[in-house]
């Protein structure tokens, strides 16, 4: 070959074979490194052994992809056209006589807002939340440091509308637009990021009294791999050795450099979720300085109670806050009634105390529908029946309800929806047997009357005794002072406290209620009255329930209900209530059955207003600080 005489063939072959490895080495040396790129972003640290979720993605491709689909992954995000879901379209958002105007310019997001010295423009730099609603934060420079400040309106994702913060918590309307102002650096950061380090720079200085300053950093802005699996840098480094990896694959022992929550004992497994789904204080409280500087010390796999004190009804409030701040977050029997207390509820349950229940018994981070993150095999009754095999053999024999009714759905009786959060009602995570007498006396909703909306606590107590052959214990009084003969839903929505009213306003719109659609006339009247509730969040729930009932059995009210804006002032609310009640009087005859006696609605569908107002005068109107 002539070419061989010009260039030695062995050299050519070796050259060809070295070409690819050399090219790979050169390009990796100079190429884009996503792991380093993520670590170099503002707000991100790589301390305390944390490596960031990007470091996990290379090996755990499927797990990273399944986690990326969850709302945990997008809990906190930098504001960008990709992350912002609100309508920054320049339209005005009004509340209590003042206006905001969210708008977009050059791919950035702003809000024109009322301020103490006239109107101001805030640039949105951070978002929190991606499932139910999204909150927005601006960056305020404070000397060399900063703080992210919560802006006063949020975007409700399902309803596709702006809401003022004052309308989503458990308090009355408030013209103070800054009533729920908060700093991300000392609030949201703790549970809406991974490995938070608030780094309050002037914690011990007198200047803190003027303004708190931060240099906050986190390992990941979302709730990422290392929140549940612990710091991963050592694991990522060690697993680069293929001999170690393959040796590990032949061993059944858990890896000692990373945590798998499914292989932890029950207590440590629930602690992984409980570090956030269980509002808590540093343990001892003197460690609050560490929290605000270096961040919480708990790491997945550890004993949570060695680091924190989960807040319970009897937990004392430190500092100048309302001494009832914590106790109001629980029903009188100690059951949590706000979200982010699921750990407390679960650990109060017999299934946890005497069984093997953990969060992983039902939930998964890497499979199934991202809404609720329930393991697909555990949907419906399956989650409970995996342990309660004797009930599985004949469910109606246990429930005393028809097999296809909600009375035979384990969770509707044992985990009723009586927990408020993000303007919705969620299931209680204290798994327990219904006790209508206790519920009435302690002022909490009863699983029975959340479905049997027309029944009283006395009826519920007697039926419970009769059906399950239990000793009869009737309630002696209601916590709110109303008559025990009244339907529980009626008394609770009118004179209960904020969470009771919210719980029943939401329950009244559910399809699984034990009433035929045409028997819900009194429910519609009560919800119409509740459109005038003092709390905007209760009004919101009442309006949505009325709309649900309208979809269930249309009366021709859909347009009227859609036109109601629950955030408008008292005078407009009064007009809405009257208009809705009048519409029901006009449209219900012939379509709905006349209400039974005792439900405070006349046979011609008129509200017995005087009786209703008398009950409402007993209403407990104390605001509840929910810490959201």
């Amino acid at each position: 070959m002539q070419s061989a005489s010009r260039f030695p063939r062995p050299l050519a072959i070796v050259g060809c074979m070295l070409l690819a490895p050399l090219a790979v080495a050169l390009s990796l040396w100079r190429g884009h490194d996503p792991v380093e790129h993520a670590a170099a972003l503002p707000l991100i640290h790589r301390e305390d052994g944390f490596a960031g979720s990007q470091a996990c993605a290379g090996c755990h491709v499927d797990q990273h992809a399944s986690w990326s689909r969850t709302f945990h992954s997008t809990m906190t995000q930098r504001a960008s056209p990709h992350s912002v879901v609100g309508a920054f379209d320049g339209r005005v958002v009004a509340y209590e006589g003042q206006e905001a105007r969210p708008f977009e310019r050059d791919g950035k997001f702003f809000m024109d807002l009322p301020g103490k010295q006239g109107r101001r423009t805030a640039e949105v730099v951070l978002t929190v939340g991606s499932r139910r609603y999204q909150q927005y934060f601006e960056r305020e420079s404070r000397g060399e440091d900063f703080a992210f400040l919560r802006l006063p309106i949020l975007w409700h994702i399902e309803a596709k509308r702006w809401l003022h913060l004052n309308t989503v918590f458990l308090g009355p309307d408030d013209a103070n637009w800054d009533a729920h102002a908060a700093e991300w650096n000392e609030n949201c950061i703790f549970c809406h990021t991974t490995a938070p380090q608030p780094r309050m720079t002037n914690y011990a200085l007198p200047s803190r009294r003027e303004q708190e300053r931060f240099d906050s950093e986190v390992a990941d802005l979302g709730i990422a791999c290392e929140a549940c699996h612990g710091p991963g840098a050592a694991h990522a480094q060690a697993q680069r050795d293929p001999l170690r990896r393959y040796a590990g694959s032949f061993s059944s022992a858990p890896a000692d450099d990373i945590v798998n929550p499914k292989r932890l004992d029950q207590q440590r497994s629930v602690a992984v979720c409980g570090q956030c789904h269980g509002q808590r204080l540093p343990q001892p409280i003197s460690r609050v300085a560490d929290w605000l500087t270096r961040g919480p010390s708990f790491r997945a796999g550890e004993d949570l109670l060695a680091h924190v004190l989960p807040i319970r009804r009897e937990t004392p409030v430190f500092g100048p806050s309302d001494p009832e701040t914590f106790s109001l977050r629980f029903w009188e029997d100690g059951t949590p009634r706000l979200t982010a207390y699921e750990y407390q509820g679960l650990t109060q349950s017999a299934c946890y105390e005497r069984g093997e229940l953990s969060c992983n018994s039902c939930h998964t981070m890497h499979g199934g529908d991202v809404h609720g993150q329930i393991e697909p095999a555990n949907r419906g009754n399956a989650a409970c029946l995996q342990c309660h095999e004797e009930i599985a053999r004949d469910v109606p024999a246990h429930t005393k309800h028809r097999a296809d009714s909600s009375g035979s759905a384990c969770m509707d009786c044992h985990m009723p929806r009586m927990v408020y959060g993000v303007i919705e009602l969620h299931r209680s995570h204290r798994i327990e047997n219904p006790d209508p007498a206790m519920a009435a006396e302690k002022g909490r909703p009863s699983a029975c009357t959340l479905c049997h909306l027309d029944k009283s606590p006395l009826w519920a107590a007697r039926e419970t005794s009769r059906l399950w052959d239990l000793p009869l214990r009737e309630p002696t009084s209601r916590a709110d002072g109303a008559s025990l003969e009244l339907a529980d839903s009626l008394a609770s929505i009118l004179c209960g406290d904020a969470v009771q009213r919210a719980a029943y306003a939401a329950a009244m719109g559910r399809g699984e209620a034990a009433l035929a659609p045409r028997d819900k006339a009194f429910v519609r009247v009560l919800l119409a009255v509740t459109l005038g509730d003092a709390y905007p969040s209760v009004r919101w729930l009442a309006q949505r329930s009325l709309q649900a009932l309208e979809r269930e059995l249309p009366l021709g009210l859909a347009e009227q209900l859609a036109g109601i804006d629950h955030t408008l002032g008292a005078e407009q609310r009064r007009r809405d209530v009257i208009a809705c009640l009048e519409s029901l009087v006009r449209l219900a005859p012939g379509r709905l059955a006349a209400p039974a006696p005792g439900l405070l609605v006349t046979p011609d569908f008129r509200a017995e207003l005087q009786a209703l107002i008398t009950l409402m005068n007993h209403q407990e109107r104390r605001a509840i600080a929910i810490g959201e």
């Binding site: 072959i13 074979m17 070409l19 690819a20 790979v24 884009h32 993605a57 290379g58 491709v61 293929p242």
Partner: protein, 135 residues
């Protein structure tokens, strides 16, 4: 002295295999060592895997054409033209995939990826001309 195009096609085929097989070994080593700068970029992984696969397959195509080209395309001039399209396509496509993963951003390959469609067109031309000229 002018080289026989089929002889050159043979050299291109063997050379491509000589480059591509070590590339495969290198990529496997990066997996074995869990090198984050490689594993962390899904785009780069995909592009380099495609480079490896295309280089191997197109090398085999070159070797096949070198073996049967004279018989299936009797016209020497046409055979030479087809061979030149084939060389370009067989080199440009894997090179484009590989260089697309070099100096790339997080979301897009580098502009060298344009070699891929150029190589694809060249291969298509070679294929059509070979089909038309086939005996």
């Amino acid at each position: 002295m002018k080289r026989d195009p089929l002889q050159t096609t043979l050299v291109v085929g063997w050379a491509l295999l000589a480059v591509s097989l070590p590339l495969g070994l290198t990529l496997e080593s990066l997996h074995a060592m869990k090198v984050p700068v490689y594993l962390g970029s899904e785009l780069r992984r995909e592009l380099w895997t495609l480079a490896h696969a295309h280089a191997n397959l197109l090398a085999l195509l070159c070797l096949a054409f070198a073996a049967v080209g004279e018989r299936s395309v009797p016209d020497a001039q046409r055979r030479g033209a087809i061979a030149r399209w084939l060389w370009f396509g067989a080199i440009a496509m894997p090179l484009g995939f590989f260089l697309g993963g070099v100096l790339n951003s997080e979301g897009d390959p580098s502009l060298f990826v344009l070699l891929v469609p150029a190589g694809g067109v060249a291969l298509l031309v070679a294929l059509v001309r070979a089909a038309l000229s086939a005996r």
